[in-house]
């Protein structure tokens, strides 16, 4: 799976250097229909982000232009009103002479040659950290699009859908595939029930749909699962077990079903489309653009799709080893000619694609005054891959009967008040003691 070098430096660069077959008009109507200038102006309102700037306003629509002028007057240092018939070859000179540092427009095809506007943008994605505070992971256009390459499904007949949010790595990959491939993307609404989203995907004829195995299990549990007829189904973000692969195969017999190994830090490692869980052992240590290794039981990936570095508090943490491999922390085991995923080295729990660090949940449980200590580990779930299971040692044995039920309810209440829903223990078991490993740490193993 070799990926050709990608000369584009940005989304704009890509789109202008590889115009859609149907011309830019189709792109504007298809891919950016929702990104109206009005909404852009709305988003500026809070931060007065254009304060003090020299702003060139280039709008197709007079109403959009009017809203921009009203909003920016008194905030911007200078407003340059581009007339609707302004030939675009004059723009670079205008930008230079008027010292323009911001352009407000719904158009994407500016021939910008001013070097002040051209720089590799850092994309900072958030992922869960041990303490509950998010880790910041830095990508670039090059690293985000490295996995896309020539495998990109092209064309106006490609309609993407994703159960992911586009602000997570898995969803952002789909947004980029849709935009760069000149396709369309049906996004889910905030809080939209899965059945409604499936109905909309069906109505728009979605051809390529992605999500975690848990997203897909949830989709298959919806009465609207028959509303979609995808040609391509992609699973990532969690271990795809044989159960979900078989269920999708029998539900959508016409679809190519592919499970990808990907994480925010490591990028997309590889895709497997043979309908079987795990991945062929022949992929390890093979030559290619994305070499993978298994060292000390865990999967390591080196690719142009790896994140660049961490930002903020994690800045010192190393992302890649001396050979440039990112340790995914996923433990794999070889059985015959295939590798299978066993779980996470750190004890990190993956609940339906969302990460949970046990320490954070234990800290919440330990706030209950009757709790001496607790250990949180991963419990297998056929529906969300894993769930959070807690074992709790009380300071005093509860009296027979009711008390332990009360404690359970109170502990759950504390967790409900301080943790995201996927981090709340699904089960709580009271035990007389917990096993400690060397160095006094809890012996975490699933």
């Amino acid at each position: 799976m070799s990926t050709p070098p990608n000369p584009a430096r940005s989304i704009r660069d890509w789109l202008t250097s590889r115009p859609a077959a149907a011309g830019p008009e189709r792109f504007l109507r298809g891919a950016t229909a929702d990104v109206s200038l009005t909404r852009l102006i709305d988003s500026m309102r809070d931060g007065a982000r254009l304060a003090g700037r020299s702003v060139l306003v280039v709008a197709r629509d007079q109403l959009d232009a009017a809203l921009a002028l009203i909003e920016l007057d008194g905030t911007a240092r200078r407003l340059i009103l581009a007339t609707p018939d302004l030939p675009s070859e004059h723009l670079p000179a205008l930008v230079a002479d008027a010292d323009v540092d911001t352009i407000v427009s719904e158009r994407h095809d500016f021939p910008i040659s001013d070097s002040r506007f051209l720089m590799p943008t850092e994309w900072v994605l958030l992922t869960s950290g041990t303490s509950g505070a998010p880790k910041m992971v830095v990508h670039t256009f090059a690293s985000l699009t490295a996995p896309i390459g020539h495998s990109l499904a092209q064309g106006a007949d490609v309609v993407w859908g994703t159960f992911y949010d586009i602000r997570r790595y898995g969803g952002l990959q789909i947004l980029l595939r849709a935009v760069l491939g000149h396709g369309s993307l049906v996004l889910s609404g905030a809080g939209e029930p899965v059945g409604d989203y499936l109905a909309r995907l069906g109505a728009h004829g979605a051809t390529h749909i992605s999500g975690t195995p848990s997203h897909w299990r949830r989709a298959l549990m919806s009465p609207n699962a028959r509303a979609i007829a995808p040609r391509y189904i992609r699973l990532s973000g969690e271990i795809a077990d044989q159960g979900i692969l078989n269920a999708l195969r029998s539900f959508y017999p016409g679809a190519v079903i592919s499970h990808a190994f990907a994480s925010t830090e490591a990028g997309v490692g590889f895709e497997v489309s043979d309908g079987l869980e795990g991945f062929p052992a022949s992929m390890v240590d093979a030559a290619g653009d994305v070499p993978i290794r298994v060292d000390d039981g865990s999967l390591r990936i080196r690719s142009a799709g790896n994140a660049v570095r961490y930002l903020g508090g994690e800045q010192q943490a190393r992302l890649a080893d001396a050979d440039g491999f990112v340790d995914t922390g996923d433990i794999v085991e070889r059985r015959g000619d295939r590798y299978y995923f066993l779980g996470r080295r750190s004890g990190l729990i993956n609940v339906g694609g969302l990460k949970v660090y046990p320490e954070e949940v234990e800290a919440a449980i330990n706030r209950h005054p009757a709790v001496r200590m607790s250990m949180v580990r991963s419990a297998r779930s056929a529906l969300t891959g894993s769930l959070v299971a807690a074992e709790v040692v009380l300071k005093k044995e509860p009296a027979a009967g009711g008390r332990s039920v009360d404690f359970k309810r109170e502990i759950l209440q504390i967790c409900h008040d301080s943790l995201a829903p996927h981090k709340i223990p699904a089960t709580i078991r009271f035990v007389p003691s917990l096993e400690m490993a060397a160095a006094g740490k809890l012996a975490r193993h699933a």
């Binding site: 029930p193 899965v194 059945g195 848990s214 299990r217 949830r218 298959l220 549990m221 919806s222 009465p223 699962a225 077990d241 044989q242 159960g243 078989n246 269920a247 609940v351 339906g352 419990a379 297998r380 779930s381 056929a382 529906l383 969300t384 769930l387 299971a389 309810r409 759950l412 409900h416 829903p421 996927h422 699904a426 089960t427």
Partner: protein
């Protein structure tokens, strides 16, 4: 407690913990419309394993994911019956 009663009681308990109100729990109610989201259904399955001692979803790679509450209860009842038959044969 019957399998059905165990399922209903656990759904009510999980909804109560989430402070969610439940619609009438009829057999043709879509499971994901029951007030439980997919995480809630996963928790339901884990709690039922504690109460009933089995998780029918992990017993085979060929699982039809239940759509309605009735499907879900029948799935558990069927698994419970085949376990009784199996253990009967074993003795």
């Amino acid at each position: 407690m019957s399998v059905r009663a165990a399922v209903i009681s656990q759904i009510e308990q999980i909804a109560d913990e989430d402070r969610k109100s439940l619609p009438p729990l009829t057999d043709d109610l879509a499971l994901l419309d029951s007030g439980l989201d997919s995480l809630g259904v996963a928790i339901l399955v884990a709690r039922l394993e504690e109460v009933l001692g089995f998780d029918p979803f992990t017993e085979s790679d060929d699982v039809a994911y239940p759509v309605t509450l009735g499907d879900f209860i029948r799935f558990y009842e069927h698994a419970s019956e085949s376990r009784t038959v199996d253990s009967g044969l074993a003795h």
